[in-house]
Symmetry: C2
């Protein structure tokens, strides 16, 4: 596509580097910016630059934060004896959104994936093991139910159990609202094996 | 959603103001930026700011340009006797992409839309009429086939004919590859009335 302006072409090129945004969407976004007030573009550019330059990672759980220690780790209202291990920051937000968990988190920063060349040394595993004290009652594995997720959970479980701490995992089964008819065999099989007993 | 960082929250807020990007996509984009090299965020922010600050509009056709007169209007290889009237800059790019048109353009900057409070005075209509000289052979209406598009074309046609210039419109009919079975009645009806005669 031949653009009428080099500035436009450069902006489209940079925007289209973002995930999920193709050339056409990038062009639409660039033209949208041109229609809006100048202030908005400045605010957008400034907030992106500030985010990238000034964001910190919590020294305990590696979540994003503006301080040295994040709000969750420094809160007195959270249960410091339970740590939920997640792959990335999005997962923290997702679990926080459920309002069902009041413990702490630990962001691994990825999962073990031999195919992608990610080994245990690339992840925040040492700091996780370092966090386990006598007060730690349970570590919850909230990792994806994929090959890599299971590998990571298996590796971590071994390491954590060596430290004498209880390990658990998110329940696997039929999603709420899911129909038996459309559930895959493996999920259905597992959900029978780990059925909930009404007492 | 409670963010762990105010910087992140602000960036997500600004990104999610863009059209077609919700809170969740905005968060994903922000987290993507944090994973990339700092240089990229700076290049992105800079290209957006530069685009917004430095872009100009062609004094003749109102297309985006880096100079005072755009490449198309200043080209000797284009037919200056035919002007194609379009709603916005995206339409210029779309038509240029077909490589079927070698005339000039005129960007209206919108279409007449009483519902949205856009009247003829809000559009680049005076400058279009001012461009029509004795050398101008034809003005092509390349406007959307909607109520507003037709209204605008009707209004412009009247004004242009007063100046004694020929006016034409994009052909309406079955799209290439389109099946008769699935064509809507109005399109099908019009395509019969304005059928192409093989000679």
């Amino acid at each position: 596509m031949e653009y009428s302006s080099q500035l436009l072409e450069k902006a489209v090129y940079q925007i289209s580097k973002l995930p999920g945004i193709g050339k056409k969407s990038a062009l639409r976004l660039a033209l949208h910016l041109l229609k809006q007030d100048e202030i908005y573009t400045h605010q957008l550019a400034e907030s992106l630059t500030k985010l990238r330059n000034e964001i910190k990672y919590c020294q305990i759980c590696h979540n994003h934060t503006d301080q040295d220690i994040c709000q969750i780790c420094s809160s007195n209202h959270r249960d410091h004896s339970i740590i939920c291990v997640v792959e990335n920051v999005l997962d923290v937000l997702s679990i926080e959104n459920t309002a069902q968990f009041k413990g702490l988190y630990h962001v691994l920063g990825g999962i073990i994936s031999p195919v992608n060349g990610i080994g245990p040394s690339n992840l925040n595993i040492d700091s996780l093991l370092g966090r386990i004290t006598l007060e730690t009652k349970e570590i919850i594995m909230a990792l994806s139910s994929t090959m890599d997720g299971d590998t990571t959970a298996f590796y971590l479980t071994k390491k954590i159990k060596e430290k004498g701490c209880k390990v658990s995992s998110l329940a696997r089964g039929i999603p709420i609202g899911g129909e038996i008819e459309y559930a895959d065999e493996i999920t259905l099989g597992r959900s029978i094996l780990s059925r909930i007993i009404f007492e």
